[in-house]
């Protein structure tokens, strides 16, 4: 096993990886940007190295600096977490060349799966169901796109071939809309990735997003660790994830799991990865993409399988064979994750920034908090608005929802606006409780209840806070603690 591992990330995932490293007796090396000098992920590490810079580009995306630091501090491996350099095949290659183990799949697998077109081609060849579509060559014309769109049928989805996530996706409803969307997608793809190839595919308006966690070792064993339902999304980005999916029966679960394993085996997948699928109401499923890294939502899989995915990643990267078989993987209970984001759900999920002045997490049975912030942290524009994850585990889905509802109610973040109350409204929505969710959930259901006006208790609490000298009041108001209304003085009270 490795003696020292460098974590090339920040925030909650860097903290979470550090916890497993410490459990395994591995020395934890962190890297950080200037504003992150005393961030929780730095505090969680044994050693910390300054990358310099403010933005991601100046810091956490500086692969050359990170490899240099890893060599200098003699870390044998780099865990990239998610985001940043985690799906950067060149970085994985440079690690190998520097004699450092990149904890993830091979650079060639990252490269193949990082391109939607080659990924789909590879999966189609392996017999994994894919959505009908077309990928343009570089410099393709509108005529090409029009011809292919007619074959695929409307509505269709258009997006950049390179890159990941939900950025730059467009839905085109008819031939008239194609010209604008095609041109815009090409321009965006060129600007973002320096590659104007775009991807057209049949748009499936009503579907669930279900993904299969896979894990493969260097000895030819590939297993799947069941599914995660990730349908609750905003702007094509996940907000709530759960496992198992309320939509899968044992038969569909087995078929999708087998498809993912088949796909992973076909490309020689090693380490942890996720096969994303769309599942239609009739149970048809289509391959979307492979995320060649640890996922944000991996904790729900950990809770229902009892496995530590980061530990498995490290053991595989160190060359150890998997000690478990597919039959050992049985779901136990139900897990839900809510992504706590510094954003204002009432104003279109716009990110919000500012200091976290009060931070109080829920606790109790079956509650896990993966947090990258603490009281006093500043949420800045430089990094992702997701500041923490609240994860619960309970015997069944209904009690998991109850537990999450309670956990959200017990969690207090003041100073920066977060989506905690919004997530609570998702939990209490009848459609969510019924398991009736699709990726259109937040479009179909207006969830923006301002709630009842403050009652006597909230008013009284406000009065008590306003009245007091207030240990957490940095700026004393001009009116001061004495807001007593009368210009006249009151005499002494006495009990009658």
């Amino acid at each position: 096993m490795f003696r020292k591992v460098l974590i090339a990330n920040r925030g909650e995932i860097a903290v979470r990886i550090a916890l497993t490293l410490r459990e395994m007796g591995i020395i934890v090396a962190a890297v950080h940007s200037e504003p992150d000098a005393d961030a929780p992920h730095v505090v969680a590490a044994d050693e910390a190295y300054n990358l310099g810079g403010q933005t991601s580009r100046e810091s956490y995306l500086r692969g050359d600096r990170i490899i240099e630091i890893a060599r200098a501090c003699r870390a044998e491996a780099i865990h990239p977490g998610y985001g940043f350099l985690s799906e950067n095949a060149s970085f994985a290659e440079q690690c190998e060349q520097a004699g450092i183990t990149f904890i993830g799949p091979s650079p060639s697998v990252i490269r193949t799966m990082g391109d939607k077109i080659t990924a789909k081609r590879a999966m189609s060849a392996a017999g994994v169901p894919v959505i009908p579509g077309w990928s343009s060559d570089a410099g393709a014309t509108l005529d090409d796109a029009t011809r292919e769109a007619a074959r695929i049928g409307f509505p269709l989805l258009i997006k950049a071939a390179a890159g990941g996530g939900g950025k730059g996706m467009r839905v085109v409803h008819d031939a008239n809309g194609l010209a604008d969307a095609f041109g815009a997608a090409q321009r965006e793809a060129r600007a973002a990735f320096g590659d104007d190839r775009v991807f057209l595919e049949r748009y499936i308006p009503v579907a669930r997003h279900v993904e299969i966690q896979v894990i493969g070792d260097n000895h030819g064993t590939v297993l799947h660790l069941l599914e995660r339902e990730c349908s609750i999304q905003r702007r094509h980005q996940k907000l709530v994830e759960e496992a198992p999916s309320p939509a899968l029966d044992d038969d569909l679960r087995a078929r999708m799991g087998e498809a993912a394993v088949r796909g992973a085996e076909a490309i020689g997948y090693r380490n942890a990865g996720t096969f994303e699928f769309m599942v239609e109401p009739d149970g048809r499923y289509h391959f979307l993409e492979v995320n060649t890294r640890l996922q944000v939502e991996h904790p729900v899989t950990e809770l229902i399988t009892g496995l530590d995915l980061v530990r498995l990643q490290l053991e595989i990267a160190a060359g150890l064979p998997l000690q478990i078989s597919q039959d050992d993987i049985r779901p136990r209970g139900h897990a839900i994750e809510c992504r706590i984001c510094a954003e204002d759900a009432a104003s279109g999920f716009l990110p919000s920034t500012g200091p976290i002045r009060v931070l109080q997490w829920a606790s109790g049975p079956g509650i896990r908090v993966d947090s990258g912030v603490r009281e006093g942290s500043d949420v800045t524009v430089h990094y992702d608005p997701m500041i923490a994850k609240l994860i619960v585990h309970a015997p069944d889905r209904s009690s998991a929802i109850d537990r999450m509802t309670r956990a959200l109610r017990d969690t207090c973040i003041l100073g920066v606006t977060t989506n905690i109350e919004f997530l609570g409204q998702v939990m209490s929505h009848p459609a969510f409780r019924a398991g009736d969710v699709t990726t259109r959930f937040l479009d179909d259901h207006a969830i923006n209840d301002p709630g009842p006006q403050p009652g006597p208790a909230a008013l009284l609490a406000a009065a008590l806070a306003a009245r007091g000298t207030g240990a957490v009041q940095p700026a004393m108001s001009q009116s001061g603690p004495d807001s007593c209304n009368s210009p006249w003085t009151s005499g002494t009270w006495r009990m009658r």
Binding site: V358, Q360, Q453, P456, L460, A465, R467, N485, P487, W493
Partner: protein, 186 residues
């Protein structure tokens, strides 16, 4: 005894009159709510007993027991803005200063001032008559509320211009009780 005027959303203001004393690790007292202007909040008309167990920094949070229910809360303040988290919800308030009433009325040199009821209650005794001159600290009106008696005095000398209440009257919070004119002779 303190009266805090709070505003939230587009709604009218609410005065919260708090009379509290410190107990071991808690503050104990009574609260009364008075709506200023149109408002649809369901607020108790009666004074309510409360206990706030200070679980956190003093006055910035705790466990509040009111009307037989427990509420966990935290608060932060930035100038006149006050964010109160209670039981999973965040309420944003503005603390409305009473400077409008105070300025030009209370200070020496102002020609006129109004004495308002600092709490809802009953007028027990009126100790002055219209036209009377009084010194600072002279008892003017004695009120009773929540089984307690309170003597209202003036911080400055003056003259009673008008008495707008009578003994035995039940008065609302902020109701004008007496109008005074600055005493020119003194």
């Amino acid at each position: 005894m303190a009266s805090i005027r709070l505003q939230f959303g587009d709604s009218a203001a609410i005065d919260v009159v708090v009379d509290a004393r410190a107990d071991t690790g808690a503050s104990v007292g009574t609260a009364h709510f008075q709506t200023i202007g149109e408002h649809d909040a369901a607020l108790p008309g009666e004074s309510a007993q409360f206990i706030n167990h200070a679980q956190f920094h003093s006055n910035s949070g705790g466990l509040l027991k009111l009307n037989g229910r427990s509420h966990r809360w935290r608060a932060i303040r930035e100038d006149d803005r006050l964010d109160v988290w209670m039981d999973g919800r965040i309420h944003r308030f503005r603390i409305v200063p009473r400077t409008a009433r105070r300025s030009g009325q209370a200070g020496p040199g102002s020609a006129r001032a109004e004495l308002t009821a600092p709490m809802p209650g009953t007028i027990l005794r009126i100790a002055v008559r219209e036209g009377d001159h009084f010194d600072a600290g002279t008892p003017l009106i004695i009120m009773e509320s929540m089984k307690m008696e309170m003597t209202i005095t003036s911080p400055v000398p003056g003259k009673v211009e008008a008495i707008l209440c009578a003994e035995g009257d039940l008065v609302r919070i902020n109701q004008i009780l007496l109008r005074r004119a600055e005493s020119e002779s003194q």
